[in-house]
Symmetry: D2
Subunit: 454 residues, 4 copies
């Protein structure tokens, strides 16, 4: 273990979702650190301080980490070696307006996390907060590695690069896991074995956060495209799922029909879940509730999110009391591995979101893209990933250009500019008057987060 103790600032450190995964994964690596937890809700970060420090008693723990909840972001950021940005802006109740208002205009979204009317409004809400954090980073820890987790990923990254061009920054997502699990399931069935691990798959990845693709994929050294084609063709109509009808109960399940459709039309395998992919396309899969049903996937429901959150808050108490323990290593995030590699403990091939400097040849320079990268001591270098096919590029670039428009809207504090991104979103099929009305209603619903623009 690198014996030097490093400082990690975790903004959004009271999280009961990603937060626990991160705590668990950090415990699994030989990292010596102090993690400063900052959250607008101090109660939650204090809880995670307690939960995190319990790992020190766990014999499986490989790390030497002290958790400390702090009162201000400044305290967390000062002299940080690493910064993790993983927070959301606004309450769960606000999500109701974000998802239901568009539906009243006939616009359906599956997640609204990156794109669609909701994705754009969320960007406008969260980006002023990012301006603040970026300025603090430039002042308090300009040499720190910054790892962004929050969505909408691409605009958050783009804004930070714009404000502080020297920032050492990348985005880390867990978007690929569901697809890797589907691929593992496919391999299990195909080769009739239980013994399939995610790392048996090697791939080339290219695209943007929430909408990225495999154009090379091997399983234990063998090309996996022929196998995937076989399943795509066989299950195109019915879908392919492990637990039939699960997609009816959990919004995160699907029958993978969208992945099969996109693969059969474009030749590349979508690396993300059906629900994410649907949000980035024209309303092929989201035209109406009936369309959604026919593609066998689900929209995120606010009720589901609320239920999950309540479950977690109650579990928090058990974890604090020691009635229950988080296990060492959740395997649900690459973040801990990425920190370890940056500390010089070996080469890591991982996928990240970053500024395009040539890794995707036909995406504009300066856009935010997702590809594999080589991480080693204090160095993050995207791997060249080739070119997107023109068909996929067309779908992708309109989001990328929307990102630029949204950033300009924020930098110029002018919400009229972002309206053109709103209009250009592929899910926006309303006519001009209705789009104008919807935009105003949605802005009004979250106006307490928009004071920056006044």
């Amino acid at each position: 273990m690198n014996s030097k103790r490093v400082n990690i600032a975790y903004i959004g450190g009271g999280s009961v979702n990603f937060g626990w995964k991160l705590l668990s994964d950090l415990a699994n690596e030989e990292i010596c650190a102090t993690v400063y937890l900052y959250d607008t809700d101090k109660q939650l970060s204090l809880a995670n301080e307690v939960i995190g420090n319990k790992f020190r008693e766990n014999p499986d723990t490989r790390s030497d980490i002290i958790y400390l909840a702090v009162d201000t972001a400044e305290e967390a950021l000062r002299n940080a070696d690493f910064v993790i940005l993983a927070f959301s802006q606004g309450s769960i109740d606000e999500m109701v307006s974000e998802l239901s208002l568009p539906e009243s205009y006939g616009i359906y979204q599956s997640t609204g996390e990156h794109t669609g009317p909701s994705g754009i409004i969320r960007a406008l809400k969260i980006l002023p907060v990012y301006i603040n954090y970026t300025e603090l980073i430039a002042e308090l820890c300009p040499d720190a590695w910054v790892i962004n987790i929050s969505n909408p990923m691409s605009v958050c990254l783009k804004l930070m690069y714009e404000i502080f061009p020297e920032i050492k920054l990348f985005g880390s997502t867990n978007e690929l896991y569901p697809t890797l699990d589907l691929l593992s399931g496919t391999a299990s069935r195909e080769y009739n074995t239980e013994n399939v691990r995610r790392r048996d798959f090697k791939f080339n990845l290219l695209g943007i956060s929430g909408f990225c693709w495999f154009d090379e994929l091997t399983y234990r050294g063998e090309d996996f495209f022929p196998v995937f084609r076989k399943y795509a063709e066989k299950y195109y109509e019915t879908g392919f799922e492990f637990k039939p009808n699960e997609y009816r109960t959990s919004p995160f399940a699907s029958a993978n029909k969208i992945k099969f459709d996109l693969f059969l039309r474009y030749g590349l395998i979508p690396a993300v879940s059906d629900r994410l992919a649907a949000d980035f396309c024209p309303p092929w899969y989201l035209k109406s509730p009936k369309t959604i049903q026919s593609w066998k996937f689900s929209q995120t429901t606010v009720n589901y999110i609320k239920k999950i959150r309540l479950d977690r808050l109650s579990r928090m108490k058990s974890l604090m009391n020691g009635d229950e323990y988080l296990r060492v290593g959740s395997g649900m995030s690459d973040c801990a591995l990425q920190i370890k590699a940056l500390l010089g403990q070996g080469n890591l091939i991982t996928n990240i979101c970053s500024l395009n400097t040539g890794q995707i040849d036909n995406m504009p320079p300066g856009s935010i893209v997702q590809t594999n990268a080589l991480i080693c001591s204090n160095s993050v270098r995207p791997v060249t990933a080739g070119r997107l096919p023109d068909e996929i590029l067309a779908l992708t670039l309109r989001h990328t250009l929307n990102h630029s428009v949204i950033i300009r809207s924020v930098m110029e504090r002018d919400l009229d500019i972002a309206f053109n991104a709103f209009l250009n979103d592929p899910l926006m099929t309303a006519e001009l008057n209705e789009a104008t009305a919807l935009y105003r209603e949605m802005l009004t619903a979250v106006r307490t987060h928009l004071l920056y623009y006044c």
Copy 2:
């Protein structure tokens, strides 16, 4: 006058529309040429031979031109110094299916000439014919200047560059005239003068054929943007037109409301008619017949086209008999001026469509763009036109990428590829199944033109 007689091949030389404009404009310039007229309908090219040669008796004529109708494209092209490609593929009756089938799926188009379901089907019909002509040009007159007039302009040009990269080619359109006339009308009213000519306006132009923009515009040396803004703001709701309600009778009239809307949102002045602009956007202006009506413009109707054509065919007889004469100089095309400049008679600043080699900085290299160009002896050089704003770039690139997909569909003789362009068109708001059905119906309706793909 350059005393050397040059050979001009005019493919589509039986035209009673563009053809007469060209004959008239050629008569107005000091050009010494033999024009070989080729048309699939020999009767029409013979008629134009007669009509064209009558200019020799007209004292206003400045040219020394002999017209000759020929039986084959080969005869026209052999040893040509200039080639004019200006023809359409398919009958007027076929246009019925092209325009009405999408409407049965709720998709309305205003012209269908470049984009939309119709534009894509038209591309698939005409491009095999372009392959043939390009191969003939490469063989029979590889050093000729080729001027394309036919639509869909961008894909026709792109295909020719792809097949014969050394081709000396550009596209010439008359798309700007209606806007220049609107601008002239505005200046007349603003300055209370009748004495306004198109050439009093100087501009920088950028975009693609059918969807291009002014980002600099002066009238007699003075910035005209403030004047245009005044009219746009004043007439945004009501529209601005010379002859009120004309747009109700002629499909080519409009109240310019779309131009005002796009200008006020994007800051650039659309250089094309409202009806063309509408076809390139999401269904903001074309969502339903009611939407179209509220924006005060009209769709092209097949009946109107038929009526115009019958009128012209009857006028043809008068022109052949000498009961009537075409006047020298229609002023409706830059083509004659462009030929004259290529022959070395002075520098010409004109606008053309051509391969992007840097003239628009943020359009991809190899895409087809429209900008100003400097034409002088045997040289065509686009003027650098800067960058499209991101909002307009987003609208433009999806068409540009569709062009690439359509070309690949043609080169690989695989109509499935073009379906992804069809799906990606901004007017395509149907869900996947319906889009598939529409595509098949439209292909079936024009199947006699699609033998190349079998």
Copy 3:
């Protein structure tokens, strides 16, 4: 004439060389202006005030211009509509050291104006002054058109773009005139006519200031390359000159052997004089005095410059007294025409130096290049000029990259950085120790101009 009186700031306004050409050319155009003359030597600018205002009495004068010598650059620049930067830094005596020191190390230069050890030292001397002027322009007349005349052209422009990216700037040179005169002479002899004017030649131009090329050239609409090739091949050994041996008496004459050599090897016609071209190449033409003699051109001598200057200062008195008058229209600079076109009086095709935004496809974005441009009302747009052949690109890029290194040296106030440009210059053939010694000696010789770097 545009009736509005505009303000022109002329920095270096006491010039007895370019200054008189400009005064003469401005008198020839319908321009209504006040020209503020600023010079570090007020006596000289006062003299030019007198000389310039005498044009008002000349019946040939078309302009309405008032000349006014001012005490400070600020007075000249405040509210300027146009800024002309045309001054040199340092005395004629200093040129002795610049030209003779390198010769003591076996390095011969013909002009030392743009490149070579002298060109680099001159850049380091003049650029701090440019920083000052650029900051004044940004403050006092940010919307003015700035026309740079001073050398080294490329670095002066590059620095100004770097400091004030919004600047409306281009460079104007008279480098092409000698070559156009050679071409005119060639055409006269070939066609046995006296009636050849520069404007009978149309061309495409590409390269950098001091080292640019024609790849298309027509004379009255006909390709002139075959004629030039004939003369190049015939006169390759002997040279071709109008007044034999003139190159022995005037440093500005030559037998054009270098142009012929470069043309025959590369296929493009050098657009600049032999002496300029020689300075940009490896020591092919400048290896030793004997080499220079064999190529039949001359180096600039300080004695010659001194003599010319003394002649002009004595002529100044005659001009002030009215014993002699400058004629209207020197035809030795495009600057007056460029101002007129910017004022909206017609389109002008001219050649300029400007930031590469795509006009030369294979030069780096952001480098300074020279090409044709279209100038009309308040708009300057380079014409796309294609690509430099790889052989010429190799010679050109090392200067372009040297420009970047020199700019960084200035911005970081670190003369060690520029030493790497000094080492990379093609005329620098000394070994490392000697190059280091020469650099130090040259810096010492001009140390009074280098206080900025301390």
Copy 4:
């Protein structure tokens, strides 16, 4: 071990230098293959067949490889899965002319392998042979991975990409080993330990074959630049070497003074030996024998090469007789590891030469560059390596542009074109007439290899 037996074609398979390293390294990896040895000298490939097959008796051997010498390149290439190109063209005696003729014109080279008059003549000799092999590969094994070893690396690769754009090709060099050994020596001394291995160093690499650089370098996770700077400054004058004066006896030894000089001037650490670096620069280090001596490195001498070769040929007999054995694993080439990774046995980070598709941002697309790459099953993806500093870029681009000129010379079978590359080489300081004479003499000396151009 991947149980499928693959076919490896080894062109130049009779090599007694690289050949033995490769045999030794292949024995060290779990690879199951048949290696077809082709050499123009069948005696040598037969010898290597015997030597290679002896590894099967060695208990340390991990591979399962059968060696087979074949009569023709076609036999080797047919159905190959991998092709190794590692041969030289021309005899050792010819090297005499290549190195001594330039010296008679005052031009000294250290290796002449990539650049300089010799490098260019070698390119012209070997490239016609590459045309032949590339056509055979396109015909007989178009899907094979081709690994090039021969020099001049960049032009060999560029030509193959040009002739067969779909080729799966990269270049593999051993140029970094001497520098890694210097770094290891430095680390040993600095940290007073023997236990330093090459793989303790991680780096980012960028440049071209023979002239590439580290801009990031860590030793066991710690930045090594401060240590290197300490040694560079301390030993700038005296040099730093393990065995003092070794550079006087072996041409491959040096005191690293050139590396220190380049590092101190440019800030990047040269990744290649002093002698290679010297060949790519202006004659800073090679101006005269005295200069060379003062920089404490040596030129390749033909006598030395002859002596080494004689030693090896005599050792060949011992190896065939079994009097001596090659050890398993020479550690002198990455080629065996690269093959293993392509077969799907893990991710490999290695450095390669390949077509620039964005891995070096400011090198032209389509140039040949050297960077790190990620190799895994059937996939080679360069890692993005950032930008070269302008100073180094200037030195590098003139070689890169020379490569393009040389390729055009070969494709057009016109040796006059390559003369401009010859003239543009930084070591070419002769004047034009002498350069012409030298070029002719050198071509005459190798005329038997230039029949292709006749």
